[in-house]
Subunit: 257 residues, 2 copies
DNA sequence: TATCCACTATAACTTTTGATGTAGGAGACG
DNA sequence: CGTCTCCTACATCAAAAGTTATAGTGGATA
């Protein structure tokens, strides 16, 4: 089911870590030369998946750690009758597969939304990383804690926000993250590429597809946002923030493994 | 608002780490003597809070890391009109305050359900721990990843399970954790002390208090569980598991800081 | 060009969940 | 001992969200 693609010579093929395009963005904390060499040596592979393919099945333990280099993906859980809950969305720089190393069993699946490319790190070397580079170990923990914060926020949405508030919070959250990564088009009102379908949004927010469509349209009609041609524009950020009580916090630089 | 209590000479006052009652339980992974001495030296205090008091306000950064030594607590977020979402419940051995070190701002509050006692570790020493004891650093990350798994499961409940399924999953989850800690009374059908009010359950599952009461009663009438006198008995684990699709996984030993 | 398919849109109707109100029981406390 | 407060129980009504059904749209594909 997961499809590999031929990647070498494509522009989104992850280069040597010293040439990493992500690392050039000031979204990420600088690393020392020694750390960079360690990461490069630890990386065992670079792979790609086509849009919609399964990066990790829900019922199978991860065999590696991945850093998402390009594209969008998501973590999810399902129930036997097909109900699916998206736990959080993964954007470039996010670390994938850490939970599996520590949890009692396989816990969630990971699917690609767009085409994605990944840097691969063998799980067996995680312990070495902790032993050899405490700074990088600290970074791993940082990334884990940050992801938990995202899930916390999603749980607040699913549990206690109504449909419109959930959508407002999600749009702001994703827009903020993409913008922080330098993915916003400043010449187009700060719009971002937005590959999610309404089905993704529904499954992330614990809503039915129909109700998601209804609520999304309501926000659109109120002039709060605009989605067209796979791009999202936030038209009235203040109103969206008031509605969802999801407020922008100045985002610090984040570690990148 | 948070109330300190005089603790010394009480039986639930955390003793020297070498005498730690938790550590004697086989729920926790053994540590080396060196690690134990390091933890003991890192611990700066031991404090207690009375039932219902605020361990950490929602709008204030944590100043320390805590390990819950005795009692039950929970992490939560609220919206301005008072809607509250409980993110997860904290039982003895759980680490508190790690997210704050890495998040961009204060993110959640922590309240005590019962009387609790805590071991205090200065946040400033977290970095030292990573540098000096990679094994303990690995444990910290382990605890963070395990907590995220719990939040993942709660998000699946809030987003995609109906009221009865949510309650079934929560009861099984808490019963399993308490049992793993050796808190079950084997002479009483494996019952556990259960200090949650229906209001806690409602806020953890994203339900109203009334609907929680309705659904809880339905499960009780069906003979699946029994709550009385502050104790929970699981009467029909199989039925609860089928209903919630929440299955027991053999729980490994967990690190304890 | 025609067909298919995934996605979005919308209406009509049902179910679940929430809101409001009221009451009873148990423990805390003066 | 009475009073208070917190928690649980339960009925009634209202609102939010889910279900079913149908159709349009645009890109991919044969």
């Amino acid at each position: 089911m997961p499809k590999l693609r031929q990647l070498v010579n494509r522009s989104d093929y992850p280069p040597a870590c010293s040439q990493c395009a992500l690392r050039k963005s000031d979204a990420f904390s600088p690393v020392s030369d020694a750390q960079l060499r360690y990461i490069e040596a630890m990386r065992s592979d670079r792979i790609g998946y086509s849009a919609g393919s399964h990066i990790k099945p829900e019922n199978q333990r991860a065999t590696a750690l991945y850093t998402l280099y390009s594209g969008w993906a998501f973590r999810f859980k399902t129930l036997s009758d097909g109900r699916r809950q998206i736990l959080n969305f993964l954007l470039p720089g996010d670390l994938i597969g850490l939970q599996e190393q520590f949890s009692d069993g396989p816990s969630h699946g990971v699917d690609a939304i767009t085409e994605v490319t990944l840097c691969v790190f063998p799980l067996t070397k995680l312990w070495d990383l902790f032993r050899d580079h405490s700074g990088l170990a600290y970074s791993v923990t940082w990334l884990a804690a940050r992801e938990e914060s995202n899930v916390d926020e999603n749980l607040l949405s699913a549990g206690r926000r109504n449909a419109s508030e959930r959508i407002a919070a999600l749009l702001l959250h994703l827009h903020r993250r993409a913008t922080h990564l330098g993915l916003a088009d400043l010449a187009d009102n700060g719009s971002i590429a937005f590959p999610l379908t309404q089905s993704h949004i529904a499954d992330a927010l614990g809503l039915s597809l129909i109700h998601t469509n209804r609520s999304l349209r309501k926000l659109h009609l109120a002039g709060l946002h605009h989605i067209e041609g796979g791009r999202l524009t936030i038209l009235n950020p203040k109103a969206l923030e008031r509605l969802s009580e999801y407020y922008d916090q100045p985002t610090r630089q984040v570690p990148l493994i």
